[in-house]
């Protein structure tokens, strides 16, 4: 994944799961999982996600007069909240899809499982 794309994904993901903002230690595992999902997507889907992330970054200039990566956490949250209420349904649908990838990546982190009391795989051979 390109560094710019990775950075923007992480900035978006921190709003979806604020623990990622608070605990730097989770970021590496999150990106590893997200990358695993992203690289497994069909080319067309991957391109659409890249396009969406690009739109998020570009619209930030229009809405905030600042690049996405320069927004404070609070302003980033306000901005993403606003995008989730955007009048174009497909943009909201895209954000919802991206949200799903973020959540699956985050809750795939083994260190997160104890926080939700998930015991993980039980097949003894695999532990």
């Amino acid at each position: 994944m390109e560094p710019n794309f990775k950075e923007n994904i992480l900035l978006f993901a921190e709003i979806i799961v604020p623990e990622l903002h608070k605990k730097a230690s989770l970021k590496y595992a999150f990106i590893k999982n997200f990358k695993q999902l992203f690289l497994g997507l069909e080319k067309d889907s991957a391109s659409k996600i890249k396009l969406l992330v690009n739109v998020i970054a570009k619209l930030s200039i229009v809405y905030n007069f600042k690049p996405f990566k320069e927004l404070s956490f609070e302003n980033r949250k306000k901005y993403i909240d606003k995008l989730f209420h955007f009048p174009v349904g497909k943009l909201v649908g895209g954000l919802t899809g991206l949200r799903s990838l973020v959540l699956i990546s985050y809750y795939g982190i083994e260190d997160v499982w104890p926080t939700i009391n998930y015991e993980g795989p039980i097949n003894a051979q695999l532990k």
Binding site: I15, I16, V17, P18, E19, N33, Q36, L37, G40, L41, E42, D44, S45, K77, F84, G89, K90, V92, G93, G94, T96, G97, R99, S100, L101, L103, I104, S105, Y106, Y107, G108, V112, W113, T115, I116, N117, Y118, G120, P121, I122, N123, L126
Partner: protein, 501 residues
């Protein structure tokens, strides 16, 4: 190494349609030379590791095949055994009213009550379909029964096809013990033993009469490699059976239309998706939900009048997080109750409508062009209300819903459900609406003005091409479709005439 790629029969797809067809065909005609082409990798139970993030690889596009309007996600298997490798094993016979409709309006007269009953008796015995004992109901299932009983909603026990199940609960990530009697465990080992040649990682680009044009890719790391090198190939056969599933079979026909001279406007049309919500309530006590067998009970009480089923279900943290709407701190708080969640699966019966279809883009990729109808929205909203009542009757304190202007709903809200839950609050762009039961697109019928395939599964306008999967369904079967796919596949295998070389 160049191989002899001439066969009597080529089966495209190793899911339950293709595997059942091949199983019955090889019983009838053991000397046929058969190839099975599977788009996904060759994995067996040894490759399943119960880890959600890894096991998304079992699904097309990691489980994220979205409809064109981005309102619904379709899950379908892309691995040896197709979706039967990671479904829960729920086995329903097709409802009698659906079969009557298929006989009367589409001419599927072979589906007499007698034929269906005897064919499914045989199939169910073969794949070990049975009711699970009540002692196997985990607390999620017990709570569903408790809530339904309080409300006077009759429940029924689901039939499952498992043998020596260890109740690990990871069915949807692939069964590591091989207890689930899907195609991967039952038919595929059987047909390999009978000499059927298997080619995995094989994408079918197009078909012509007696020809299949493919690209064979390298096996992903950790999966079983093909004996043939990766590359572009043309397979030849007397008969070609398309059993690539609803997302692919109509797309292959559309990509091949120019070679086959097909002008049938029904190809890809009348798609139904059995749209589903998986919703959660939060119970005050810890609930055994992801351990034990995930699904043992359901109700069809609302099926005829309100067009939906309610089944039990439970998923792993990532998918559960996705299914609970919202994000941020409030979502994190909700997820802290993962071990107290009770879960209900809503399945809405959708009508087969011409405008809902599988189509292809300029590159030939599948597009799922589907719009939720007003009737399905109405069914989903009604189902959300009824499920909410069951959650509260079962003792849940909170209910998390996708069509409510208040989230979560609390016990005191029970008398105001009509205010809180309504169609106007159902924003499909924000909701985790999904489908695991796509059907139609190559429907079977007595003539090409209403159908794509004849009643023996042969594609109208072709001599050698047949369909054998859920895309044959003229309308939604309204229940989990596994047994109905097997039923039609058995019929096509019995009807087809092929002489070996």
């Amino acid at each position: 190494m160049m191989e002899d790629l001439n066969f009597d029969v080529i089966v495209v797809g190793s899911g339950v349609g293709g595997a059942t067809f091949t199983d019955y065909l090889t019983r009838k005609s053991p000397y046929l030379k058969i190839a099975m082409l599977e788009s996904g990798p060759y994995r067996t139970k040894k490759h399943f590791n119960q880890r959600e993030i890894d096991m998304t690889a079992l699904y097309f596009n990691r489980g994220a095949v979205l409809t064109k309007n981005l309102q619904l996600g379709v899950a379908a298997g892309n691995t040896l055994g197709g979706s039967s490798a990671m479904y829960t094993g729920v086995s329903f016979r097709p409802p009698k009213n659906v079969l009557a409709n298929w006989r009367e309006n589409y001419g599927l007269t072979f589906l007499t009550d007698e034929y269906v009953s005897s064919a499914l008796d045989e199939i169910e015995k073969d794949i070990s379909v049975h009711e699970l004992p009540e002692s196997w109901d985990n607390q999620n299932n017990q709570l569903f029964k408790k809530g339904a009983a309080k409300l006077g909603i009759p429940i029924k026990r689901l039939k499952i096809n498992t043998k020596n199940c260890k109740q690990q609960g990871f069915c949807n990530l692939g069964c590591t013990t091989g207890a689930k009697q899907g195609a991967l465990e039952v038919q595929i080992p059987r047909i390999i033993k009978r000499g059927v040649k298997l080619f995995c990682n094989t994408k079918v680009v197009s078909v012509e009469e007696n020809k299949v044009n493919v690209i064979i890719n390298d096996a992903p790391d950790g999966t079983v490699s093909n004996e043939i090198d990766s590359g572009v190939y043309q397979f030849k056969a007397k008969k070609i059976i398309l059993a690539a599933g609803v997302l692919n079979t109509p797309a292959i026909l559309l990509r091949s239309a120019k070679y086959l001279g097909l002008k049938n406007k029904n190809i890809g049309r009348y798609l139904t998706l059995h749209p589903a919500f998986n919703i959660n309530g939060i119970h005050p006590e810890i609930v055994s939900n992801y351990r034990g067998f995930p699904k043992t009970v359901y109700t069809d009480y609302f099926s005829e009048t309100e067009n939906f089923y309610l089944e039990t279900s439970f998923y792993f943290p990532g998918v559960t997080a996705k299914n609970n709407i919202g994000y941020g701190e409030s979502h994190l708080e909700i997820m802290k109750n993962y071990d107290k969640m009770m879960s209900i699966l809503i399945l809405a019966h959708d009508k087969a409508e011409y405008h809902n279809r599988i189509t292809i883009d300029k590159k030939g990729n599948t597009i799922v062009d589907y719009t939720i109808s007003k009737q399905s929205k109405k069914a989903l909203v009604k189902a959300l209300k009824e499920a909410t009542k069951i959650f509260f009757a079962a003792g849940c304190d909170k209910v998390l819903l996708p069509a409510s202007n208040k989230n979560p709903l609390l016990k005191d809200d029970i008398d105001k459900l009509d205010t809180f839950i309504s169609k106007k609050h159902l924003n499909l762009y924000k909701t985790p609406l999904s489908s695991a039961h796509p059907q139609g697109g190559s429907r079977m019928g007595t003539n090409s003005t209403i159908a794509v395939c004849d009643i023996n599964g042969k594609v109208y306008g072709t001599n050698s091409i047949y369909v054998c999967d859920a895309s044959l369904f003229p309308t939604s079967v309204q229940v989990n479709p596994y047994e109905t796919i097997m039923l039609l596949s058995k019929w096509v295998a019995e009807s087809i005439e092929i002489q070996p070389n």
